[in-house]
Structure formats: C-alpha cells, structure tokens
C-alpha cells in the first residue's frame, strides 16, 4: 500500500563538488555531417559539454537521431569533431593508450560473421596483446558469463540478434576496461538478458569502472545510471543525477504493508489535518512486468524446461570482478538485486513489516521537517547482507551455470 501526498517539502538536493577523477571531458563538441561538396548536411551534435567521472554510470538518453550514437563515436575517435574538444583519460580518444582502457559495444553487431564466438574473443584479445593463457581464460569466463559457452563454435553470423549482442558485450569486456561504452546494450535482448546486462553494468561501476550507456530505453537508464544527459536535436536538453531530474519536491510517498482499515483511517486523519482530501492518493503497489516475467522464467527453469537458444549468463566473469577467487567486494552489488529495499531487483515476496513507524510518519508530515540529505548514491549502496546469500539469489533468478 502506498500513500502519496503532495506537501510543501522543499527539495534541498545540494550539488556537491565531485572530486573523482575525470575520465571523459567534452567541451563545445559539435559534429556537422557534410556532403560530397563539403556543404553542411546535418548538425548531429551541437555544442555539447559534459564530464564523466570515475565509477559513474553515465547515461546518454534521447530519441532516435538525437545525437547519442554520434557522441559515442566521437568519444571513440571513429568520427572527428567539427568543433570542440574531447579528452578521454586525459588524452585524445584516438591515442592507442586511451583505447587500451576502453571497451565498446556498438549499437549493432559489427563482428566478423565468419568467426565463431571463441575465435572472436581470441581475435580481440590479440589486439590487446593478451597472452594466450589470458585470452583463453577470459574467453571461457566471458562465454560463460554471457551464456554462450554452448555456442562457442558456432559462427557469429548464425547467431540471433540477442546472441550477437551477448558476444558483442563479451568482446567489449575482454580487456577488463576502465571505461565501458555501451550503445543500446539491451537492444535485441530478452528481459533476462536485459537484466543481466544491467546487473553487469552495476557490478562494473562498483569496481570503479566508468560506464557510458547510450539508450532510448528509459527503464534501462533509470535502473542503472547515476547521471544522465538528455539529447534532442543534437543538443543537451537536461543533465544531472536521476534524483535531481526525477525528484518531485512537493510530494512524498509512504509505502507500508497492508494496514488494518482502522489504522489507515487514523493515518489519513492525521494527514488530512495538513493536506486537502483531494491531494492524498492511496493505492496498492504493483510489481512491474519485468519482475513478473523474471519470476515466471525462474519457475520454468526450476521445472527444467529445455531451450536451444542462449542460456542465461552465469556470474560476472572472475577477472571482471577483480578478484581471482571470485569473492570480490564488488560483487556485493548483487546484494542490491536480492535485498527487499533495492530498486533494481524486484522484491517478489516482500516480508510484511511488523509495525508502522509512527514517529517517522509524523516527522515526514511536518511541513517544517528537514528534507533528506541529498546524496548521489548508487542503487546498490543499500543494506549489505552477506555476499553468498545475494549471489545465490541472483543465480537462482538468472540460472546459475554449473
């Protein structure tokens, strides 16, 4: 049950200076595509400025053709800016040393169709000058992670779109990149694949990796991004943290387990003392479709239904977790997915709270009460139950690989 009340609470979200290292700096970036004769054809990106800091998940959001992918390609040095300046890790994006720290998943599967999954990863591993044993280890772990270990010898050209996205994601991570640039990463993926990708993004960010995510799927961005820019017509229309952009400063929501009618009446009575009747809404929260779908699949998997497609990925590859034993602290992100209060992982069976915190409720309804401190916190920075418990829950949810 949720109660939404419009109050006079002021939003005191304060912009605190971020002292983390700047990974990407874009200043006055403009890209004009020209025709054969050099005449301007389209202004794809128009005087854009932003910075991305270490450990951020930064979203480029916008409708089709708004300039997201062009920005990504400019960041990668695949296009040259008409005006403006780009620095990635303090250097030109075309510098080999810069590229060594980047992982890129393009918007489509631009992989060699005649190579199989294993050869694809081996080829890209060679471009990073990885040793044979590193290439083998990482390829095995990545194939396991993206659920393609049973399709390792199939040519990429034979893959479905979803499978191609998975192998594309695997190649983007072969070098354990410090900056991961993902262009529409969930495009073509089923809901399980989408969830896995989002989990991975969060896990990478917890390890201090920087992720730039370009997408027009609002749910993807909302689930994982710390900060977003919203493009339209090549210009940035809005930029900030999700909390800054999405907060409704003049309303609060209280969610409780189902309450006895008498209790609810008492609560409403208190609220009505300060807020008009028509400003208060009471409804029953529903889980979203993604959560529902994942639960159905989980049950089907428990019943051991066969599939000929890609299987669900296993845990994040060991080397991406940054711990050879696979028990890295970064994996505690999985806790968020399993914890009832976490935002990204659906709480399929919420445990009822014992009592309503009357004191907190009273405090919230006080007009003069101080607003909660603004803090840019990642969804995974909630309570941290034990790693094993969280991992077991995720494995059960997504299908743990043997």
């Amino acid at each position: 049950m949720a109660i939404l009340a419009e109050t006079a609470l002021s939003n005191t979200v304060a912009a605190q200076p971020d002292k983390r290292e700047t990974i990407v700096a874009v200043r006055g970036l403009t890209k004009i595509f020209k025709d054969f004769w050099g005449r301007p054809k389209a202004r794809a990106v128009d005087d854009v400025d932003f910075e991305v800091r270490r450990g951020e998940v930064f979203g480029l959001l916008g409708p089709n053709g708004s300039g997201k992918s062009t920005t990504v390609k400019l960041l990668l040095g695949l296009l040259h800016p008409t005006k403006g300046h780009i620095e990635v890790f303090g250097r030109s994006p075309r510098h080999v040393a810069t590229k060594a720290r980047i992982g890129y998943l393009p918007e489509e599967s631009y992989l060699y169709r005649y190579l199989n999954s294993r050869e694809t990863l081996d080829f890209f591993g060679n471009l990073f000058e990885l040793s044979r044993s590193d290439r083998n280890n990482r390829a095995e772990q990545l194939l396991e992670m993206v659920g393609l270990n049973q399709a390792r010898l199939r040519a990429v050209g034979e893959f479905s779109k979803g499978m191609q996205r998975r192998i594309g994601l695997a190649q983007a991570l072969i070098n354990d990149p410090d900056l991961v640039i993902l262009d529409e990463p969930t495009s073509g993926l089923d809901p399980i694949g989408c969830r896995e990708v989002k989990d991975l993004i969060v896990a990478l960010a917890r390890r201090g990796k920087t992720v730039i995510l370009s997408s027009h799927l609002l749910a993807d961005v909302e689930d994982v991004c710390d900060r977003v820019v919203i493009y339209y017509g090549g210009k940035i229309q809005a930029m900030g943290t999700l909390r800054e952009l999405l907060a409704t400063p003049d309303a609060i929501r209280i969610t409780t387990p189902a309450l006895p009618r008498a209790t609810l009446e008492r609560v409403m009575e208190i609220i009505r003392q300060d807020v008009a009747q028509d400003k208060v809404h009471i409804d029953t929260p529903t889980q979203n479709l993604e959560s529902y779908f994942l639960e159905v699949v989980r049950k089907a998997r428990t019943a051991a239904a066969d599939t000929s497609g890609a299987t669900s990925g296993a845990r994040v590859a060991k080397y991406l977790r940054g711990d050879p034993e696979g028990e890295a602290a970064s994996d505690r992100i999985l806790e968020r997915l399993a914890a009832p209060a976490a935002s990204a992982a659906p709480d399929l069976n919420p445990a009822p709270a014992e009592t309503v915190d009357q004191a907190k409720l009273a405090a919230l309804t006080q007009p003069a009460a101080p607003a909660p401190e603004a803090a840019v916190e990642k969804p995974g920075q909630a309570a941290e139950p034990s790693f094993d418990e969280a991992n077991d829950k995720l494995s059960g949810l997504l299908g743990k690989k043997s």
Partner: protein
Amino acid sequence: MQKILAIALLTWKAAFRFRLFLVVAVLLLGAVVGLPLLIKDDGTARGFTQILLTYTLSAITALLGMSTLWLACGTLARDIEDCQIQVVAVKPIARWQIWIGKWLGLVSLNAALLALSGLSVFALLQYRATRLPEAQQQILRNEVLVARGSAREANLDVEIAREADRLLRERLEKNPTSQADLPEVRRQILEQVKAEYQLVQPGYIRQWDIDLSSGRKSLSGQPLFIRIKFNAADKSSSGTFTLMVQAGAPPLAPWRSEALSLAPDTFHEVEVPSSFIGADGKLSIAILNPNDTALLFPLDEGLEVLYREGSFGLNFARGLGIIFCWMALLATIGLASASFLSFPVAAFFSLGLLVITLSSGTIASAVNDGTLMGFNSETGSKGSSVFDLVVIPVFRSILTIVNLAKDFSPVDALSGGRSITWGMLGRAAAQIIGVLAGLFGVFGIWIFNRRELATAQGTQ
C-alpha cells in the same frame, strides 16, 4: 606485432571461410593442368615446354592478380561498409597496423597460392620431361629447363655516336650546311653508321667479340649457345638464308659450324662447346653471309651468347619471386584504393590502373613520337598540339613509374631458359615493392588514418 599478425590471420580466415582460397586454388590448378590440353605448339618438346611455361605462368599471374585486387579491395572496403572496422579501430591498434596487417595477410595468402601453383607447374614440367626420349630431355635441360646467363658485344652506342659526329664534321667541312638542318643531318648520319655496324653484305663477315670472363667458372664442360636473329633485305625462295658461324679465341683453332639454313626475323640457337673460349674468357664469333642478299643483325638482339648459369629450379623460384612482387603491388593498390573508396569503386579504380599499366605501349609510342598527333616516319615530321605540352610530360612520368614494374619479364625469361639473377630479383623487390608499393602504401595508410570510419551504416 601480435596485433598485426592477428589482422593478417583474420584475412586468411576470411579467405578460407568465404572459400576464396579454395576457388582460386582450384582455378589455378585447373589452369596448370587444363592448359596443356588446349595449347598448340610447334611439335617439339622444347616448343611445347616453352609455350606451356608461358601460358601457365601467364594464367597464374592473371588469375592471381585479379583475385588479389578483388580481395584487397574487399578486405578493407567491406570492413568499413559493414562497420566491423568500428569495433577493431577502437581497440588499441593503430590504423597503420590494421592496414599493414591486412597487407601482410594478402601477400602471405598470395605467396601460398603462388607456391602451390608454381610447384604444380614445376612438378608437371619435370614429369613431362622424364617421359621424353633422352635426346629431347637433353635439349630441354640445355635450352629451357635451365638458367642461362647472357653475354653480348660491348655497347657500341658511344662509338657509333663518335663516328657519326666525325662524319658530320667532315661533311660540314666539305659542304657547309645551314644550322637549321644540323640535327636532322646528324640523325641521318647516325642511322647510317648504325646500319653499317648491323649490316653484313653478301660475301662479308661480321665479327662479335664477347667477354665471358664473368661467368667463366660455371662454363666448364657446359655447352654455349649462340643466339642469332637477323633480318633480310629480300625474301628467299626457300624462306631461309645460309649462314656460317665460327667461334674461338685466336690463336687457338676455332670451332666452325656447317652451313646453317636459318629463317630471318626469328631467334635461332647454335650450340658451341665451351672449350673454345680463350683463357682470358674472350670469345670471338664471326658470321659469314654467303647469300646474295645483305643481312642485318640488330645491335640489341642480333647476337648473344647464352651459357648455363644455374639450375632451373632456383631460377623458376626467382621468377615466381618477381611475380610475387607484382602481386604485392596489386595488393597495395587494392588496399590503397579501398582506403578511401567503397568496394565497387575501389575495384573499378584498381582495375583501371591495371588497364593503364597494360596499355603503356600506346603511351610509350606517344612519348617516343613526342606528340599525340601522329608521327610520319617517312618524312620525320610530327603533328603538334597544345595538349602535347601537358600530356607528353604526364605520359612520360606515367611511363617511368609503370616501367618500374614492367621492366621485368620473368615469364619470357623462364620460357627462354634465361637466367633470372638474385640481383634482378632484388631490383624487382626494390622497384616494385620498395618504391611503387611503398608509395601506394604510404598514400593508403595516410588516407586511412585520416578517414572517419563511422560514417557508414551497417549493411549486414
């Protein structure tokens, strides 16, 4: 290097997975095995072998050349059009490394295909040779399946020019001529003197002094071949003319041929024992013209002495080496054009360049004539055009560049049993790969390095 090799290996995989390697290999082997069934020859084992070598090596060069151009254009242009390059170029590999990796992949692929087809030709020749009668085998091994060096008379150009100048001076002293006619007078005198050096009047003898000291070590016990070609002033009823050849080093007794009945305008070889060479490596050859018609032995190809310099196997390998240099150049041209053009345009552009190269004879004649408007060889007068001021220097530059690659004729040399020296192979590598391919390569890499790689939308 690991990155470059990865790109090279990728080119190999593409060639195999798209079955290009298989198709080209089958075509090449088909040409090697099938052509001998189709070609017509003069009925001799030597003639058949020479034609076989010419046809098979020409077919290999043409087939491999076309597939090289096609693959070179495709491997880069397709990567750009299908956007795979976007995933590769964002990895820590410099653009020039991508380019060089592809080039290495192409040339190594060519080397493998050339080795495969070359070995097949070689094996076929050896097999056919062993099935011939011993005498025929001997002829083959002496004249075709061998690497023969060549020695000619010392260059007479300076001597002829000096003689022409002397005659001109004498004539000017006797009959002063207006200054305007001097170049034409000199040209006519020069032709006259040259004709005297080439012409052997009826009943006269012409002597050639050949220095064989440089190749003397390899001559011991091996026969020499005097290669003769002459033109006749008149036709004979039989179609042939009689010649008598004498070779030796005075004061030793010379070797003398019987009267030889030879056709004009074609090459003939006369075998001479090497024991008649003088201790200093000098050999004097005299040819008597007993006919009642004057015979002309051209200065450049009238007479030369061929001697065994090495084995056919190694010579054949060196010949293939020169063909490989051509393939490397074609791979470079294909990649360079694909660096800035789409696949079909790059292929068309590369083929266009190839056509220009093959039609350089027309360009050469225009450069020789000094005009595009035609040259009257009887009057010596030439047309003139303002275009000539621009076009002829351009043609001359093109010809100079084209000749860097066309200076070599391994197919002719191999079918004629002529030696292709290491020096010649080195020069081919330097001129064709070092200079020509180098220029195209630098241009291709430069433009590929500047190109925006993400302007194409995927076509997969």
